[in-house]
């Protein structure tokens, strides 16, 4: 019952954020970069600026709505790129075994030894800031988790009778991996991918917060927080609302991930973690 409530609350929260992101132009009362210097640092006021204004008079609510677009976009695309790459590496390593497995897992372990955020800031520093580079950076840092997971599952699945039967029928390695192994290892991957969306959202916000994210003209929750930290003493709303937006989004994605994990495979309960940077 409680889990169902958590699921529905998360679904509604994510639904609201998703609709805000898609229909930002219609829903936001102001433009994301529309300035009104005479109304700078206005506290939240339901009659004018519901969540207040920032240091150059931009509407916080409007910027949050537009910021949702970047956060979700970055999270989903980064997972969309890193997940297939990791799955492919894990499948090939687990199925091929021996030298290929050893080489691929060594590469994976090397990357896993470098803290994600440190690798991300090093890569983005090399590539330079900007939306495509941030997405590429997050994808580069995110594939190892899937590779490790899929490799382990593949090792178990490839010895099963139906795989042997397919091989006896003359099926090639690529066909066996795609048609027989992959469908049997994909459930935990889906769960990890959901958690990873939350991870990517936090990672993007962290990069933006450190000033290494997307271009200054693009609104992101992390960049809003970075701007607001200078006004902690005088304007709490500059940091409270963007942080709350990240928190609610990540919490909702994590709770959905928990629910999905229990639904797809209750045996996995507790073995696949939620997002964290």
């Amino acid at each position: 019952m409680r889990r169902d409530l958590a699921f529905w609350l998360s679904a509604v929260a994510l639904g609201v954020i998703l609709v805000s992101a898609v229909f930002a132009e219609r829903l936001a009362p102001y433009g994301p970069n529309e300035q009104d210097i005479l109304k700078r640092l206005q506290p939240p006021d339901p009659a004018a600026h519901v969540l207040g204004t920032d240091e150059v008079g931009r509407d916080i609510l409007s910027r949050l709505i537009y910021g949702a677009r970047i956060s979700l976009l970055v999270g989903v695309i980064a997972v969309g790129l890193s997940c297939p790459l990791g799955v492919l590496v894990g499948l090939v390593a687990g199925y091929s075994g021996r030298r290929v497995d050893s080489v691929l897992m060594h590469v994976t372990d090397i990357q896993l030894a470098i803290p994600t955020i440190l690798l991300a800031i090093a890569v983005v520093a090399v590539l330079g800031p900007g939306l495509p580079n941030v997405i590429l950076t997050l994808s580069v840092t995110g594939w190892t988790l899937y590779a490790r997971l899929v490799r382990g599952e593949t090792l178990a699945v490839k010895t099963r009778d139906f795989v042997q039967a397919a091989r006896a029928n003359g099926a090639g390695d690529a066909r066996i991996m795609a048609r027989h192994v992959l469908p049997n290892v994909i459930s935990p991957v889906i769960v990890v991918a959901v958690f990873a969306v939350a991870n990517m959202i936090v990672l993007e916000a962290t990069l933006s917060f450190l000033g290494l994210g997307v271009e200054p003209s693009v609104v992101t929750w992390g960049r809003m927080l970075n701007g607001g930290r200078l006004y902690l003493r005088t304007a709490w709303w500059l940091t409270a609302f963007p942080g709350l937006a990240i928190f609610v989004t990540v919490l909702a994605v994590n709770l959905l991930g928990d629910h999905l994990r229990d639904w797809l495979d209750p045996r996995l309960r507790g073995s696949l973690g939620s997002a964290q940077v």
Binding site: R2, H106, V107, D109, I110, Q111, L112, A113, I114, P115, T116, I117, L118, L119, I121, A122, V123, A125, V126, A198, V202, A205, T206, F209, L210, G211, L212, G222, L225, G228, R229, L232, R233, W236, T239, A240, P242, G243, I246, F247, V250, L251, N254, L255, G270, G273, S274, A275, Q276, V277
Partner: protein, 293 residues
């Protein structure tokens, strides 16, 4: 592993462009650039440069900072104690809160206390560390004025950064302790201990927690990288003079030898911690000692 990590960071630095152009002034004549390149060995083949880098790194020579001209190893040596102090303090805070919370949740399963602890753990996993840090600064530093919010010095300086950083692993650790304890509390040896009249505290600490320790220690080892990564953000926010702040400053200054050195050292620390975790298994579980022998 160390050579592999070196290769990654070496590759990253060379992907960023010609290091010599970062060292000389933008209007330097071509012959000055060529001389500098030759003096620093950047005109040699990449594999020779890499072999040389690894050989020098093995001797503790991580190159020279492009910005300050100081040896990178010395810069890291100066800043590393602050990072160790912060991460160890955060680890202790996380363990001190998560282990009792996880045990109480498992023992009082389904109670209001269990629900409260687990809601806290789930929420804790979702809080972005940099936001929590700002909230702590605003409330305990600016509003209540209980703790200093910038720099390193007294124990009071350590409180807010360490508490912020501890949340990186606290929620996940509490959930894992609860899960592991629930599994162990249902085992026969726990029932036997209770039947023999062993006190509850001794049953939990001596029998249950000891047997639940392996997944907990594994998580601590794996999450240590997250803690070191989290230190990058925490140190930047609290102006904590550790290697996390050093690397962020180096990135903004495009001081790649420093970036390279810090990534290498942090990765080696992570590998060493996980080696210690492997050794801890044997200490925690006599069966592993027997198998190893």
């Amino acid at each position: 592993m160390a050579v592999g990590v070196s290769l990654v960071v070496f590759g990253l630095v060379h992907l960023s462009g010609d290091p010599v152009l970062l060292m000389v002034s933008s209007d330097a004549p071509a012959d000055v650039i060529a001389t500098t390149r030759h003096e620093l060995g950047f005109d040699r083949p990449l594999h020779a440069q890499f072999t040389d880098y690894v050989a020098r790194a093995a001797r503790g020579d991580l190159g020279v900072s492009l910005r300050s001209s100081l040896p990178v190893a010395a810069l890291i040596r100066d800043r590393l104690p602050a990072t160790v102090e912060l991460t160890v303090a955060a680890l202790l805070i996380a363990v001190a809160i998560a282990i009792p919370a996880g045990i109480v949740s498992a023992v009082k399963r389904g109670s209001a206390l269990d629900r409260l602890a687990m809601v806290g753990a789930v929420a804790g996993q979702a809080v972005p560390i940099f936001w929590l840090a700002l909230l702590l600064i605003a409330f305990f530093g600016v509003y209540l004025r209980w703790f200093p919010v910038f720099g390193r010095g007294s124990l009071a300086h350590l409180v807010l950064p360490a508490v912020s950083l501890s949340t990186v692993i606290l929620g996940r650790l509490a959930r894992l302790v609860r899960g592991s304890m629930l599994e162990v509390l249902g085992q026969d040896y726990v029932r036997t201990a209770r039947a023999k009249g062993v006190g509850e505290v001794r049953v939990l600490a001596g029998h249950a927690l000891k047997n639940a320790a392996i997944p907990i220690v594994t998580l601590l080892g794996l999450q240590f990288a997250q803690l070191l990564g989290g230190a990058v953000v925490t140190e930047t926010i609290f102006a904590w003079p550790g290697i996390g702040r050093l690397v962020v400053e180096a990135i903004f200054n495009r001081d790649f030898p420093v970036v390279q050195g810090v990534v290498l050292v942090v990765s080696l620390i992570f590998v060493a911690v996980n080696l210690l975790v492997d050794l801890a298994y044997a200490a925690l579980d006599p069966r592993i000692r027997t198998e190893a022998a």
